[in-house]
């Protein structure tokens, strides 16, 4: 229902029955910023250039969202908006984990 489910279903084959719709959705997510980008000035994502951090973060997000069956859009937006207990619990845990990660890696270790 959310972004991780739409992408993950393509990756592990569980979304075979509606592959075209998944690809069309992702094409829209990718392409509209391409069109909008020239209209905005000073667009900067400030992403880290630390390759180890990027790979560790990507792996955590990939495994974690599939294990939990959802991410910010699936559990956070689609789940909370229908008062799904799973969505609320997942959101509490990933925001808490994200907050503690920023404390640890930014303020204590100074890595990010």
């Amino acid at each position: 229902m959310g972004a991780s489910g739409i992408i993950g279903g393509l990756v592990d084959g569980s979304g075979k029955s509606n592959m075209a719709e998944r690809l069309a959705f992702l094409a829209g997510v990718f392409l509209v910023p391409v069109l909008l980008y020239p209209l905005f000035s000073d667009v900067d994502t400030h992403a880290t250039t630390n390759v180890a951090v990027l790979i560790a973060a990507g792996l955590c997000v990939g495994v974690g969202t599939r294990l939990a069956n959802g991410c910010t859009s699936g559990h956070g937006v689609c789940g909370i908006s229908r008062l799904s207990l799973r969505g609320i619990v997942a959101t509490v845990f990933y925001i808490m984990a994200g907050g503690l990660t920023v404390v640890l890696f930014r303020h204590l270790l100074g890595v990010i």
Partner: protein, 144 residues
């Protein structure tokens, strides 16, 4: 209208929202997660702003069927388990580390530069490994 065309439009709208709202700005995302430091609360309005229309949309699906066929997704079993908690914690760690979650990771590929492609590739690898991780977990400690 075909389902794929609607999916393209929905994805485009989602991508525009992520681009304009600042959800692809990793510093902004980390600033929002930085509740114990210099907290930037603005992204709470993005999430809240998305939850409100979505709640109305769910109400409108009551007793209706999608005009392009199929079914609206049913609410999941309200089952809380180890995989939900452990997966969410892992996801939160990754989100905090890089400031990117799956939707914004796709939306920012065209303009974010090479770090976004590295993150995206690792995320896809993680998604490919997830069934293995799930099987390992289940065989080690059967739960749920």
């Amino acid at each position: 209208m075909s389902r794929s065309l609607l999916a393209l439009l929905a994805g485009g709208l989602f991508g525009a929202g992520l681009f304009i709202s600042g959800m692809t700005d990793t510093t902004k995302v980390q600033g929002w997660l930085d509740v114990f430091g210099n907290w930037d609360p603005t992204l709470a309005f993005v999430m809240g702003g998305a939850i409100i229309p979505m709640a109305i949309a769910w109400l409108l699906t009551n007793g209706r069927k999608p005009i392009v066929g199929g079914e609206f997704p049913k609410p999941p079993e309200p089952k809380l388990g180890r995989n939900l908690v452990l997966g969410s914690v892992l996801f939160g760690v990754g989100w905090g580390l890089a400031g990117l979650c799956p939707g914004p990771a796709v939306a920012s590929l065209s303009y974010g530069g090479w770090p976004h492609w590295v993150f995206f590739a690792a995320m896809i690898a993680g998604m490919a490994l997830a069934p293995l991780a799930r099987a390992q977990l289940d065989s080690a400690v059967p739960a749920e």
